[in-house]
Amino acid sequence: MLAFCNVTKRFGNITALDDVSLEIAPGEFFGLLGPNGAGKTTLMSLAAGLRTPEAGTVALDGRPVASGASAARRALGLVPQTIALFPELTADENLRIFGELQGLRGPELRTRIDEAFTAAQLTDRRHSLVKTFSGGMQRRLNLVAALLHRPKLLLCDEPTVGVDPQSRNAIFEYLQRLNRGGVTIIYSTHYMEEAARLCSRIGIIDHGKILALGTLDELLVQLPFEDEITFPVDPATAPLVARLAAEGEITAVDGMHRFRPRTGYPLSAFFALTESLNLPPRLFVSQRPTLEALFLHLTGRTLRDA
């Protein structure tokens, strides 16, 4: 549906995107995961036709997006990172303006606006000024404003920044519902939990390059370990740390040891060792590795530090 082919975008001396190639299939919920400044927003703006690349092409259904063709633009909706609304107008007036700019008129526009308010759970506030809304309400309105014309492709550029958990969950559920309804979604975020929860396929981006691409399982398989065990940094666990050094990778972060056993190392051996050292099981948490671990593995930095 959307194809980036050897796309390079520069801003002065800074290369925001470096020879990026990427294809998004119809119906996908694609996550773009990377730290701030990785190139996510640049990629989104190229997809939306807001910028043109120095090299390469961006095509939607085979047609270049940057050519300015109205048909291509009507097929996509953009949810900007910022609250792209007129705060001095009511929610209803905002949606009417953006709907009309998409060519909607009359009863059809009215119906779409009603649907949007229902989806955003803002029907009772539709005639309130946007500037009186909470951050979460503004984010929800910001999202549905991009959907009035029922785009086939929805570009969400970090749509949950600064949103409370309740509104975040509401946005997630709405996006999943849309995706199930056939809307292709590209979702950029620097929260690995969001990408892991929502996206059927994820691209990890840093310094303008796609470092890894695939489903969550496909990505995590790239890690040289299958499990991750964490336990407190404590004098009681010091003998364990000494014994584990030969069995895998062990690091200490924020007062916790993180043990990533080498492939083939049985967990039963680990727990036998803890028993022999009289360490209670409650100290240990075993979990599947995360995208955070993958990013750390790929870049040597955590997403938070990047």
């Binding site: 703006s45 807001l50 609304l85």
Partner: protein, 473 residues
């Protein structure tokens, strides 16, 4: 933090300093001699008297005036101005003051001087100043004119032979007792120069001030001036022979009998509130510029909020946004001007319906020029703060240079030239043409054309700058 905000620092320090420097030029503070320069004044000389030419020369010597005595016929040919010419010129604002020296400047049937002063008090300050300067120049030459009148009367009364004998006797007596060339003294005597020309050349060529009793221009009172309000209200809209104020009547009665200057206001006679009609245009355009510039800077807010991203990801193009903003500025300007003029109508009785069509056309073209100016400010500014600083600076300086506050004719020559490149100047001209001079739509078309040209040119530059700027990045 304050020092790192370049726009704030510029507005706080740089803009006021530059404006003070600019105002110095506008108000002529850098000139040794302040005051108006080159105000055009038409002079029609129908008199054969030599003193009339001397009076014209005296007017020409006054730096405040640019004396026009001929009409260009094309191909370098000219002819002397007529009263009909100057009336047309006054109506068309080629000049606002005209002095007519009639054929009977020195009448045969009476002792004294007659002349006519036509004026268009389009600008009050200028009109008052011109009247003051004119009276100084005229009365400096009155003694010579009276001398000629005296000799003329004497020739008529005595006859040529006795007149010649009388003057020869005086010339011989003077030469015998005080020395000098008899023939030269005789020629001076019959020309009416009884030594007054020597008086006028005292103090290194400076002309002396008029007699104390004649400080006010008996003949041409300052229109709408604070101290002449009662008189001017009586004179506006009617022909009048001058009359001195009551408190000076005794000292000037004789002089007013000898010097009769008929005055006539030829424009703005029917204006109900002259002061409002003169001022409203300048202030309207200044407030219009401020409002429209502020409106244009909201482009930055829309960019920062991401609204542009949303709009541009739809079928909307940057050109749509720019032209929509321009049109909004024009409509905002029209509404604001309408509100201002309606307020002028309610509070001051401003006649806005007499030429409503012309007024609307001028307002529309002025609003378009102001809106284009606002777009240009937004186009060349890197941020909203910078745009505010730039527009503050340009609006204030353009209002000063363009004549919104102060008559352009009082500014130095080079500032007057710069003035004509500002939209404020042409807007003020357009509004004054309609509200003061009562011109029709057809008559103000050239001004409207210039404003429309400014709007088109400035908008073209703004679009060019937008296309190369970062507003839509």
């Amino acid at each position: 933090m304050f020092w790192r905000a370049k726009a704030a620092v510029a507005i706080t320090f740089l803009v006021p300093i530059v404006l003070i420097y600019l105002f110095g030029h506008v108000f002529g503070l850098y000139r040794k001699d302040s005051g108006p320069v080159g105000i055009p004044i038409a002079v029609v000389n129908l008199s054969q008297e030599p003193a009339a030419l001397k009076l014209i020369e005296a007017l020409k010597a006054e730096k405040a005036f640019r004396v026009i005595t001929t009409r260009d016929l094309g191909n370098g040919a000219t002819r002397p101005l007529t009263e009909a010419d100057v009336r047309a010129g006054l109506h068309d604002n080629w000049y606002r003051y005209a002095l007519i020296l009639p054929a009977d400047l020195l009448p045969d049937d009476a002792f004294g001087v007659r002349m006519k002063f036509l004026f268009n008090p389009r600008n009050e300050i200028e009109a008052q100043t011109v009247n003051g300067l004119l009276q100084k120049t005229v009365f400096s030459n009155v003694p010579q004119l009276l001398g000629q009148s005296l000799q003329k009367r004497a020739r008529r009364f005595l006859g040529d032979e006795r007149f010649e004998r009388f003057n020869r006797t005086i010339a011989n007596t003077l030469a015998d007792n005080f020395g000098g060339d008899r023939e030269k003294i005789y020629q001076q005597a019959i020309s009416g120069d009884l030594g007054f020309s020597e008086l006028n050349r005292t103090e290194a060529g400076k002309t002396p001030a008029p007699p104390p009793g004649l400080r006010r221009l008996d003949a041409a009172p300052a229109p709408n001036g604070p101290d002449a309000q009662s008189q001017s209200s009586k004179l506006e809209g009617q022909k009048s022979a001058a009359a001195p104020p009551q408190d000076q009547k005794s000292s000037t009665d004789i002089f007013s009998q000898m010097v009769k200057i008929e005055t006539e206001q030829v424009a703005g006679k029917e204006v109900k509130n002259p002061m409002a009609a003169r001022l409203v245009g300048g202030y309207a355009i200044m407030f219009l510029l401020m409002a429209v510039s502020a409106s244009a800077t909201t482009l930055f807010e829309e960019k920062n909020s991401g609204v542009f991203q949303r709009l541009l990801s739809s079928p909307v193009r940057p050109a749509h946004i720019l032209w929509a903003r321009f049109l909004f500025g024009v409509i905002l300007g029209l509404v604001q001007i309408t509100a201002l003029f309606c307020a002028g109508r309610v509070f001051f009785g401003l006649d806005i319906f007499r030429h409503a069509g012309a007024l609307f056309a001028v307002a529309l073209s002025a609003a378009a020029a102001c809106s284009a100016f606002g777009m240009l400010v937004a186009a060349i500014s890197p941020s909203a703060a910078a745009a505010n600083g730039i527009s503050t600076f340009v609006v204030i300086s353009m209002s000063a240079v363009g004549g919104a506050w102060f008559p352009v004719s009082f500014m130095p020559d080079y500032i007057q030239t710069v003035s004509k490149f500002t939209l404020v100047y042409w807007s003020v001209e357009g509004f004054t043409d309609v509200l003061w001079a009562g011109r029709s739509l057809l008559e103000v078309l050239p001004t409207i054309g210039i404003l429309a040209g400014i709007a088109a040119g400035v908008m073209a530059v703004a679009v060019w700058c937008f296309n190369r700027g970062k507003l839509f990045d």
